[in-house]
């Protein structure tokens, strides 16, 4: 299994064990460099992936990621524990990425740029039985999915990313976006439908995409 999975497992553990998180937060608020380094280790990849899906130009994700963590470092003293640390960080990330996206759109109104292949990890094998051919087929399909996702209107894309990629609950998404759960659900239904429509011949059993 790849590194990404390990991080996700770490995230899940972190959110389940609230006591552990409280200890981490206390250390962060006390300015422990080790705690901040741990925080970066756990969250930098998922946050980078998240903002990459939201900014219009993926090469801007690096700048946004830095802005997000500078805010996290500065504001950790104000973190009250009303939500999980993950939700709090994602909220900052979404806010920064959306702001960046808006100012980008004001400057350059054009189509989203495709992701550069080099920072995208290898496809994750579903099971040990996946053949090299199946892996290739999957990575080709996923490239289509990525493009279709990038072409969705921002509010739909964001909920689809948070739900289908980040695996967040409706409640968490509502907290991150600052909207009602009902809004999350309706955007998700619409977002999924639009995504499926953009992938017209996708996943056809004949193998023709």
């Amino acid at each position: 299994m790849s590194y990404v999975r390990t991080v996700e497992a770490a995230l899940d553990r972190a959110s389940r064990i609230a006591g552990e998180e409280a200890t981490l937060v206390a250390e962060l608020q006390a300015g422990s460099e080790g705690a901040f380094a741990y925080l970066l280790g756990v969250y930098q990849t998922p946050v980078f992936d998240l903002v990459s899906h939201i900014v219009e130009n993926p090469s801007d994700a690096a700048d946004v990621l830095q802005d997000v963590f500078v805010k996290v470092f500065r504001r950790i003293g104000q973190f009250q524990g009303d939500s999980s640390l993950k939700t709090w960080i994602y909220k900052i990330a979404i806010h920064e990425a959306s702001n960046h996206r808006r100012s980008w759109l004001r400057r350059f109104r054009r189509e989203p740029v495709s992701l550069d292949a080099e920072t995208i990890g290898p496809p994750i094998a579903q099971s040990r039985e996946d053949t090299p051919y199946q892996m290739l087929e999957k990575s080709e399909r996923q490239a289509l999915v990525r493009r279709a996702l990038a072409s969705l209107a921002s509010p739909y894309r964001t909920v689809v990313v948070l739900r289908e990629i980040e695996g967040m609950s409706y409640e968490e998404i509502a907290q991150v976006l600052g909207v009602a759960e009902g809004t999350v659900k309706s955007r998700l239904v619409r977002g999924r439908e639009l995504l499926r429509r953009k992938l017209a011949g996708y996943g056809a059993p004949s193998g023709i995409i």
Binding site: A37, L115, G121, Q142
Partner: protein, 216 residues
Amino acid sequence: MFESCLEIRRHFWDYLEGECDRSVFRSIRYHLDYCASCRMELERIETLKNDLDTLPARRVPPELALRLRVKLSRHLHQNLLDRFLVFVDNALKPLLLPASGGVLAAILCFALIMGSQIIPAASMTDDSGGSNQPPRVQMLAPITFPTGEEGIVVVTHIDAEGRVLSYRVLSGSYSPQVLRHLDRMMYFSHFQPAMMDGKPTDGQVVLSLRQITVRG
């Protein structure tokens, strides 16, 4: 396709997550029994869902990870740095008094300690009392140039003899002139090489350079 197909398909995502009502669940199951086209659609949505779920994450490039660590280090030590700058300012002012209106400029250098960037993880467990050390600055060449308020952060690669093999600017505003000064500074400064198991070895050190100017 049946009239109800479109309606039924709207629930497929929730169905796959086990998130739909019992009655919806039952009508989907019933519908799938006789509608081959919806069975195929369900399979496609399952594939799409799975492709999304396993979409490989974009990895943080090592350079970006290093930038984040530098930002963190800056954030954590900013107060210390500011206090130190005030201290240096106050300490140097009396020296300038005789020649009133004099200006003294110098480059202050801080080595940012980021162990994981310098010592390979495999040797981190070795705790044999400081036999593993990152490279250190012994003497910084007395060259000054404008570094801007933020300073310039460079990653310097030092060989086992303490020479600078290469360096790259990680952050800060720099011009070709500044780079020429940096070249000279790196060439004429003295470093103590990194030590591993008591032997000198190649290593990297992150330096934060900031010009201070004191007016008398």
